[in-house]
């Protein structure tokens, strides 16, 4: 009985499952589109005769992409076939800036995640319907590893208001307007071409852009066949500006006299990604436009461009790290442990060697991973606390100089780090077998870390300035270098014969290794001199001397075991840090260039940003335009070129009596950081228009990507100077005395 019931139950369950899955199977038989399209309108109603913007929004499945007007080496751009009511017309698609998508050796230009394709719809001057319906048939190609041509119909119903009426912006209007702002605009720089049989040299006269060394610049042509899309586009700079060398494409046998496309400038510093794109049209043989107006070349700031290139490159750091790890094996704090272990290995059995070698390597790598994790956490905490781990920051450079000095002194034998740690771990390491090897690995790391090889200092400094993943990889490479010799030995025990005996040579080697560290500290002091001038050097010297004193005291304490000495050395170290950083903060920040408005003929008052001065100007009834910028911020530089060099902009500023305040954040000025934080920003650029009656933190924030129009419209919204109540207002054309002048 029970048996039959359970059989029936089973049958019923099967049937139930089948019935519920069948419909979904039928549904799944028709594959879902990878791209969902819909039609959005910026206006909530149609006004006869008044053009308005609509957007086709593509929502693309993760890992898939659609294409730009020039899809690149393969692919197909979206096509729209409009079915519009009588009298309506639609413009061409206004293509958003695409990404470069590499597919093996091929290059495509397209979009991922989401893209808004703007189209301007023009209604006829007279409409007699209450509402109209806009329809389009869209077809596109969407690809990941394979390609799927898809299509979809989009439609939108809109009410019609009377001629001359008003249509409010729709709920989608902000997104559409933002997309319109992000459309590429004509570039401000004259461009010229140099065409040869195989190459095109595109020259952009933009002298201000070379200081930003971290930018990526690419040219994306509108038409196929002009360039080889996948080829590298080496960027070079000269006094006039930038040049991109493009490789010619399939149409190279045809003469080329015109090149049109997008110049895309990407700034990927500090983990953010700012992208600006400009339409560039160049004709071959056109001479580069005459020199920019006099005074256009921004005077080089003290410290501008003087920072070391953002650490060493990643691959060099990796190489240094592995090399450093290998050298660590020879240090006297590591070598004896290893040679003992090596001897034990040689005496043991063959197959357990290899496992022990692997266990050792695992121990080392695990410890380095932990160290990297700690560093990353500290760095994130520090970043959250507003520290910038940048070589641009004089405080960071000073800190690194003091650290290198201390490490060098430890290698010279003035004091020792981690002496007690060796004893702690050796009990664990003496255990036989795999766990013993694992702990030897951990031990080697613990004693190696403070006993830093000179290479490690650079790798550490580098690691602090880089994102977490790179830090992890570099430190693991260091671990790999450290683990390699013993692991190698475990696989080839015969090599143990080649091992030198521990001896006095190790101590000499260690002391010699101190000198590269001193040299690095010296170089950092040089960098500091560029950033903070002679006061910076004084601060560094004071700090280094006191660090030396602290080290000596500590060394004496260690040999004598004197409690008092320990306190004294700690106090000296604190004094070292305090005095040097204190002196550093009194070093005057480099004055920003008095200009910055390249078209400035003196009609616009220009001052450096100071909070007190801002309050003063507001009380005088002057509106203030604040430009927060930095020498290493390419977006800032591009904006300055695009928007702030225009005479129309300076005229608009002069007309309204706007004061131009420039805040240079190249060296992370505290006042500017405070202003950035007041507006909830972490970095530059930031453009503010502060009206006289604006409360603190309530100024008008302008977009991070500036155009002339944005600025002119913003200034146009200001009241005329005659309306301002307070005295001391300079009529347009005369500037107020500059700070420091009587």
């Amino acid at each position: 009985m029970t048996h039959i019931w359970s059989m029936w139950t089973r049958l019923l369950v099967c049937l139930a499952v089948l019935l519920t899955t069948l419909p979904s199977v039928a549904q799944d038989a028709r594959p879902q589109n990878k791209v969902a399209v819909e039609l959005l309108s910026a206006a909530s109603a149609v006004v006869p005769g008044q053009p308005f913007l609509v957007a086709v929004r593509q929502r693309i499945a993760p890992d898939w992409h659609t294409y730009w007007r020039n899809p690149g080496d393969s692919g197909q751009a979206m096509e729209l076939e409009w079915r519009l009511p009588e009298g309506f017309s639609a413009s061409e698609i206004r293509w958003p800036v695409p990404e470069r998508i590499a597919v093996g050796p091929l290059m495509n230009y397209g979009y991922a995640d989401e893209a808004l394709f703007l189209v301007e719809i023009t209604p006829p001057p007279a409409l007699f319907a209450d509402s109209i319906s806009l329809r389009a048939d869209a077809s596109w190609l969407v690809c990941a590893e394979i390609c799927i041509p898809e299509d979809g119909a989009v439609a939108l119903e809109l009410p019609v208001v009377g001629a001359g009426g008003f249509a409010a912006p729709s709920a989608d209007s902000p997104a559409i307007m933002a997309a319109r702002e992000a459309l590429p605009r004509p570039g401000p720089w004259p461009a010229s071409l140099d065409v040869s049989a195989d190459r095109i040299r595109l020259h952009v006269a933009a002298p201000d852009l070379q200081a930003a060394s971290n930018a990526e610049v690419h040219f994306l042509p509108f038409d196929w066949g002009v360039i080889d899309h996948a080829a590298a586009q080496p960027l070079s700079g000269d006094a006039d500006g930038l040049s991109l060398t493009l490789t010619r494409g399939d149409l190279k046998t045809q003469t080329l006299d015109r090149l049109a496309g997008l110049l895309v400038i990407e700034d990927r510093r500090d983990g953010r990604h700012l992208r600006q794109a400009f339409v560039v049209e160049a004709a071959a043989g056109q001479p580069v436009a005459a020199a920019l107006p006099a005074g256009a070349a921004a005077p080089r700031l003290v410290g501008e461009g003087a920072s070391p290139p953002d650490g060493i490159g990643f691959w060099q750091a990796l190489a240094f790290a592995v090399l450093g790890g290998l050298i660590l094996n020879l240090m006297p704090c590591v070598f004896p442990v290893l040679s003992l272990k090596a001897l034990a290995l040689v005496q043991g059995e063959a197959h357990s060697h290899r496992r022990q070698g692997v266990a050792y390597a695992t121990g080392v790598l695990a410890s380095f991973a932990l160290l990297a994790g700690v560093l990353v956490v500290l760095r994130e905490a520090g970043l959250a606390a507003g520290w910038g781990f940048q070589f641009q920051s004089p405080a960071f450079v000073l800190g690194m100089a003091l650290l290198f000095m201390a490490l060098g002194l430890s290698l010279s034998g003035v004091f020792s780090i981690g002496g007690s740690a060796i004893g702690l771990g050796s009990g664990l390491a003496q255990r036989q077998g795999m766990s013993g090897s694992f702990f030897t690995g951990v031990l080697a790391t613990v004693v190696a870390t403070p006993c830093t090889a000179p290479f490690m200092g650079a790798a550490l400094g580098f690691a602090l300035t880089r994102p977490a993943m790179e830090t992890m990889v570099v430190l693991l490479a260091l671990g790999a270098g450290l683990a390699a010799p013993l692991t190698l030995l475990s696989f080839l025990p015969g090599l143990a014969r080649l091992l030198p005996r521990p001896g006095r040579w190790m101590e000499t080697f260690k002391q010699v290794m101190a000198f590269p560290l001193y040299a690095s500290a010296g170089w950092l002091v040089w960098v500091l001199s560029l950033q903070a001038g002679s006061e910076g050097v004084l601060a560094a010297m004071a700090g280094l001397t006191l660090t030396g004193l602290a080290a000596w005291l500590l060394g004496r304490t260690q040999s004598a075991g004197n409690r008092l000495g320990l306190a004294a050395s700690a106090a000296t170290l604190v004094a070292a840090v305090g005095l040097s950083f204190g002196l550093l903060s009194t070093a005057p920040a480099p004055q920003p260039a008095a200009g910055g408005l390249a078209a400035d003929d003196g009609s616009v008052t220009t001052v450096a940003y100071r909070p007190a001065r801002l309050v003063e100007l507001q009380s005088e009834g002057r509106p203030v335009f604040i430009n927060l910028t930095a020498a290493w911020c390419i977006t800032c530089k591009v904006n300055e070129q695009v928007a702030l060099t225009s005479s129309r902009v300076t005229d608009a500023m002069a007309r309204k009596g706007v004061v131009y305040m420039k805040g240079d954040w190249t060296n992370h000025d505290a006042d500017i950081t405070a202003l950035l934080q007041a507006y909830g920003r972490a970095g530059v650029p930031l453009y503010l228009l502060i009206r006289p009656d604006d409360a603190a933190g309530a100024g008008m924030v302008l977009p991070q990507i500036l155009t002339e129009t944005i600025l002119i419209e913003a200034f146009a919204s200001l009241p005329e100077p005659a309306v301002r109540r307070s005295a001391g207002v300079a009529p347009p054309g005369r500037s107020l005395p500059r700070p420091g002048e009587t």
Binding site: I146, G225, D250, G494
Partner: protein
């Protein structure tokens, strides 16, 4: 014994780097210049070489049987008709499959022959190029992509098969077939026009 592994490893590393570098370099076929010489194994195990066909017109057709654009031409019988017409005139038609193993379009020899039979295709031979050597030599980027080489080995046309860059089957009707134009021009002794067009289709699935 301990020294040799190191040297061996070093030379292996150099060879690997060289191989990768060479794979990354793309050749550039130029219309009006001699077409790149290649040697590849076809679906019947024969080695095919371009120079063996000196004295005959050669058409190269890059293909990937699952690509929607290729399916348009084979599904409508367009490609097969073109192949039959060309081979009837003594033209050598070589279909090339440059998909790397595991990617769309990759087939082994038996499957390649089965596909040709199923679809009624009539190429002279189907070249199997899983490492993408021939593809990179010709800078083949899409499937389909066509190259027409004259009896002297000079490249006369490269690019799309026709002027309808869509995968809609209906577009084959009334499309201007650039390959037919090129072959007709060459037969008449006229210059080929157009010489270069934008190839359309799925990307060729090269390996890394």
């Amino acid at each position: 014994m301990t020294a040799m592994p190191n040297r061996f490893r070093l030379s292996a590393a150099i060879a690997l780097v060289a191989l990768c570098a060479s794979a990354a370099v793309r050749a550039e076929p130029v219309v009006g210049q001699p077409a790149p010489e290649f040697a590849a194994v076809d679906s019947n195990g024969q080695t095919q070489q371009l120079k063996a066909y000196r004295g005959k017109t050669v058409v190269l057709e890059w293909t990937n049987h699952d690509c929607p654009y290729v399916r348009k031409h084979y599904g409508t019988g367009n490609m097969q008709a073109l192949q039959k017409d060309a081979t009837a005139d003594g033209i050598v038609w070589l279909s090339v499959i440059s998909s790397s193993p595991g990617t769309q379009g990759y087939v082994e020899a038996p499957e390649a022959n089965a596909l040709s039979e199923q679809r009624g295709a009539a190429p002279t031979a189907v070249l199997l190029d899983p490492k993408g050597k021939v593809g990179r030599m010709y800078d083949a980027r899409t499937t389909p992509q066509m190259f027409v080489i004259d009896p002297n080995g000079v490249l006369q046309y490269m690019g799309a098969i026709d002027d309808k860059p869509t995968s809609r089957h209906a577009s084959v009707e009334g499309a201007t077939n650039y390959v037919r134009i090129a072959l007709a021009a060459m037969a008449d002794g006229r210059p080929v026009e157009p010489k270069v067009t934008r190839p359309y289709g799925c990307s060729v699935k090269y390996g890394w």
